[in-house]
Symmetry: C2
């Protein structure tokens, strides 16, 4: 009878394993908790026989459920709950729950944690300790990362606390459900059916973010609609805040500057008008009644057509401080974007944010952060770091990265952004001498700021895999990990992500990480090599269009950026040109003044150089440009070969998706290369280097390409 | 050792059962194949020990995989494949694979099947036989329906063939991914990444449709873009056709009349112009080269602003026949919509399609169907059947139902459409005497047509549950089942669907089916009782707005339809009014001429009556109207109570969704009722019946409601 039952169970298991109900569709992100190999499963089990949670509480429930579910999936048996830590326990403890925990919590703050393997009366126990339940949740996710990546689970002695206070996603999600620069389907916020219907995706969103330490989310597009501050939409935001709260994630809103006029008929939105200030104070109180831990406001003002305080001859500081006063009594903050350039300013667009904002340093209220994109133009495949970093020591500057790949291949190109983020964070501003990195500006350590922040424009939508492709998930993951610790390496993060997302098998991890690590440089090469920028097509930004010169504002045109002519190419930002280099610290400015001491990766960003300028390799600028295009295309072909070799190690569904996307990427890399070369050749009339193929079509063919239904353009 | 392994396996199974990775999110539709109770599982297993498929072939692979997967999930053990039928075999056979099968296939055609329990040399075998592999696939799905609904699996003797030839979904999906009147998210067609990336959803779409006998799909919106006929989009459609082919599903396209002008610069789109005809012939050939079994074209012409042959003083028949000639050599057909009403025609909108099309009867080519909506206005909660049914005996008329609930509560109201479809199909046209039902018009039996069709405007989008709500899935299901057999009852279909979607437990099926069956009548009552129609808000059609009177065309305004004034309410379509009743057969027209012999459900559709007109109940029209509104609201409250009682029998996720949506429905039913009563009371100044509550707000409040982000309006 036992044997028969056994056979039945065996058959059951075999059937379940052989015919999975659901394919690997990417929904589980890096929280897959795939069954571990037998020895590893035993190892995990031995370290998670029981869970000793702190006490009741929604965050503790979340942490406990996550640990149970994860261990059950990885090992086949779920840990039970216990009240005292015995052998093999995961002991979650705060000073309140366990006053005598053998571990200092100093320096861990409200969100950090320590994990230590301890001996408790002869019994091996894994202690996860923190000052708060949220810290414990972060610690639990850290332990699960170890468990998923085949890391040792004994002799642990880990301490971790976030270096940056506000670690936020910015959703450019519209109230009609579209997502500006979204390549993963519609918004995951079902505004229409909120607050009544709260689908399970909201919880999984919070889990994913908490697992990488993200602690805030701006729900709506910076190109905001006034209605997002109306009572019905506040109720909708509150429903989301209630779901996110146990995960330590606060909700923020983008605001439209003219909301007082649009919603309540005020005659002005002048920040120094008493009625306007009173309106915002009342609005803040209304929001905080619904969302007691509301984070604050994000503002895009006097930027790309958005209204703002300058419409009333007030400064950005006047505007930010008025809003800051409204949220201050409730503990809220204001994030004021520095992404500005004016239609009536003929100066180099790259200089304008600095010129506008640097003079305001010291004028912002103490609950205002100025949010600065990593570069001075707009999320290009490569930009030098933004000159505002290091230039406003009295103002907390927040980094704004773009996780969604508006300019780096959108949903289908495999271009891992970890190296881009790392490069920007590691850039040295020299503001206080060598070592004054951008990371130290934004983590507050350079200038002694307590209020610190970093934001990533989310790449999340309703696509089943959240991010439009499996590999785009890595960018979300990398952003979160770097926001917690800007000192991590993009490579290490890629290893973690790959192990959790696919498998810790080194036969898979090594080639996938190698592929990822070079992928962003490859995109730079096939799109914008040697410091070129902003040569994409108009509107949807899909594909190449370096020839565009007919848009209303000069700085919207690609020709404005590359300035290619018969003699040469590049934007002269030295003294003989726009002198943008003077916005950097003198030591940097000196280097950038000379092409020979300018990094070749930024060469044409700062210099207009003749086509026969000699690169360090000895080849001419033109030949070097062409070879870089070719390198980019060849790299993608290499990724295709690598991926093909991984077929036996990857499930069919995710294999097929990546295979299809790499084919698209290869075709489009070739297109970028060919269109760019065809265009530049029409300007310089130079022959191609001997080893380079002619473009597949003539220039007119590339110019004629049209994509009226390209996504992400709302 | 055996025991230890056993314990491990047990633990594995327990963990998998206790902590499901995925909640019941509705993705599996009615193909859930939930584990059966032990005795039933044994019964299913006993009838599906082995599968004997016909031979290799993609359709056979599909059928075999479906049977294996389904039985494995229901029972825990997958049937194996065999070459000869032994005891417990599911034997799939065609005359070609098994010339001597003990079963006549006469009358089953190319898509039908027979299922019979036979004794084969003393061994009990279930024989599924058909003339084609597609027939076998339909038979396999039929058997799986029996298995899922706890129906007996022995002594089977079933024969089934579709009564209607073309059973199509119409997707009103735009090339930019939006869906006109879609309430389930964006289009499931990822046009942007087709044909390169073919995600798994396309296959699941085909499975779901094949399981209910749908054999065609029109991929794009009837408000078509010319680009859908361009080479890149033909390649995208071809990729979908390749996926759908093994499931017996053909692809069709909506066409824009001016495509020859827009795509290739022709000077005209006149259907009698030789160049135009040649363009369409060439275009058809191009399509058929990519899609050899392409179904044909669907056309919305000279309707709501779309161009058409009347722009060139040609008739609908001229237009349809020109297109028909283009696809004819390839075996294609043209579906020409009769949904027309002209801005310069002052006559009753309900009469115009009949007036336009009836004179063309006999003029259409033999591969043209005229596609007629179920009613003469536009998919209202209730409409009398369209007078064209029965009026064009020489022309195959195709039914167009709307599965997406533009006018019946969109994504959140539980309003099962089975009864609406049934009512329309069962309506008697009296065209050839009593019993000349609409069903017999469209199945061709009344007038001897071989070419027959039925279309449903799909309610499908990328929402995880496909249809915006679990219960909306029932409408897709019901459409498919009725398209196969218009004689089925909405009740029986609801029973099947409920058993498969939730559980065959009668404690669940009985109350859920009861709830569903009354739900459409409830929506009629709280929205448009007693034959009212078209009183919804402008544009998005969300919510009530019977007061609207300021739209450009008279027939766009709700006041045009209800004609309420101080004296009475309703549209006089008798001789004293528009005389639309004369478009029906004389016996019907006579009945409708008199309010007393007009069904009360259609009373105000045909008559303008005084507020104190006496209903059959003896109460006044006004009081009866109010009571019907109240009945509608009360019914929804009753559904809420029923559903609450089912909490123990439904998984948490689907329970919560339906609970939330019923709450929305109840609030909105009350809103419809209150707004309508407030408005009509402002016209008739009558007191409410003693038992009726006053509306919650005054009329101005209802008029002020605004929903700029309501979905589905593209």
């Amino acid at each position: 009878m036992m044997a028969r039952l056994f056979c039945y169970m065996m058959a059951m298991v075999m059937a379940m394993l052989a015919l999975p109900v659901r394919a690997e569709d990417g929904y589980d992100l890096w929280l897959r908790y795939a069954p571990a190999e037998q020895a590893r499963a035993a190892d995990i089990s031995a370290h998670a026989r029981t869970i000793v949670p702190v006490e009741n509480g929604s965050t503790m429930e979340v942490a406990t459920r996550e640990l149970q579910r994860a261990v059950a999936h990885m090992t086949g048996s779920a840990p039970t709950l216990a009240t005292t830590p015995t052998a093999g326990a995961l002991w979650l403890a705060t000073p309140r729950s366990a006053p005598g925990i053998p571990l200092s919590l100093k320096g861990l703050g409200a969100e950090g944690y320590a994990i230590r393997s301890i001996d408790r009366g002869g019994q091996p126990v894994t202690l996860i300790a923190a000052n708060s339940d949220i810290g414990l949740l972060h610690g639990a996710f850290h332990w699960l990362r170890l468990a998923q990546t085949n890391a040792p689970l004994d002799r642990l002695d880990i301490r971790s606390a976030p270096r940056i206070g506000l670690r936020l996603l910015n959703h450019w999600d519209n109230l009609d459900g579209t997502v500006e620069r979204g390549y993963a389907g519609m918004s995951i916020w079902d505004w229409w059916r909120l607050p009544d219907y709260k689908g399970p995706r909201y919880t999984d969103y919070a889990r994913a973010n908490a697992s990488i330490g993200i602690n805030g989310t701006v729900l709506n597009n910076v190109n905001a609609k006034a209605e997002s501050l109306s009572a019905p939409y506040i109720a909708k935001a509150a429903a989301l805040a209630d779901i996110f709260r146990p995960y330590g994630i606060k909700v923020y809103l983008s605001v439209k500057w003219t909301a007082p006029m649009e919603l309540d008929g005020l005659k002005t939105a002048d920040p120094l008008d008493a009625q306007v200030a009173a309106w915002w104070k009342a609005k803040a109180s209304e929001i905080y009644r619904a969302i007691p831990d509301f984070g604050g406001f994000l503002v895009k003002a006097n930027s790309e057509g958005q209204p703002g305080p300058q419409d009333y001859d007030r400064t950005h500081a006047d505007g930010a401080n008025m809003l800051a006063a409204a949220v201050k009594p409730h503990g809220g903050i204001v994030m004021w974007r520095a992404f500005v350039y004016a239609h009536d300013n003929p100066d180099d667009r790259a200089k304008q944010a600095y010129d506008d904002f640097k003079p305001l340093d010291g004028q912002f209220a103490d609950n205002v952060l100025v949010q600065v994109k990593n570069g001075a133009i707009d999320f290009q495949p490569r930009e030098p770091f933004h000159p505002l970093f290091g230039a406003m020591p009295k103002t907390p500057l927040m980094m704004e990265f773009q996780i969604t790949k508006e300019y780096l291949g959108q949903s289908t190109h495999l271009t891992y952004l970890g190296p881009l983020f790392e490069e920007a964070l590691d850039a040295d501003t020299y503001a206080k001498g060598k070592g004054s990195t951008v990371a130290k500006v934004i983590d507050g350590s350079l200038d002694g700021h307590k209020l610190t922040g970093i934001a990533g424009v989310a790449n999340i939508g309703v696509d089943r895999d959240w991010s439009g492709s499996i590999f785009n998930q890595a960018d979300w993951y990398a952003f979160g990990r770097l926001a917690w610790d800007p000192g991590l390496s993009a490579n290490a993060i890629a290893r973690e992500w790959t192990a959790m997302t696919f498998s810790p098998d080194p036969r898979l991890v090594d080639p996938v990480v190698a592929m990822m690590m070079g992928s962003r440089e490859a995109a730079v090469d096939y799109m914008t090599p040697l410091g070129l920028a902003h040569v994409m097509a108009t509107g949807h930004h899909y594909g190449p269009a370096p020839w565009v010169s007919d848009l209303a504002r000069p700085e919207w045109n690609p020709v404005y950026y590359h300035k290619a002519d018969a003699d040469g190419i590049g934007f002269d930002r030295t003294k003989s040109g726009s002198n943008a280099i003077a916005q950097y610290a003198p030591v940097i400015a000196r280097r950038l003044a000379n092409p020979a001491t300018t990094p070749e990766s930024e060469l044409l960003w700062f210099h207009h150089l003749p086509w026969d300028y000699r690169l360090k390799s000895g080849e001419t600028l033109w030949n070097g440009l062409v070879h870089r295009y070719d390198h980019g295309v060849a790299y993608v072909a290499g990724m295709q070969r690598t991926w093909e070799g991984l077929r036996p190690l990857v499930d069919a569904e995710r294999f097929a998706q990546t295979e299809a996307f790499l084919a698209i990427q290869h075709r489009e890399a070739q297109w970028w290369r060919d269109a760019s070369i065809a265009y530049f050749q029409s300007i310089n009339h130079l022959p191609l280097p001997a080893d380079a193929m002619a473009p597949a079509h003539d220039l007119d063919w590339y110019k004629a390409q049209s994509f009226p239904y390209a996504p992400g353009h709302h």
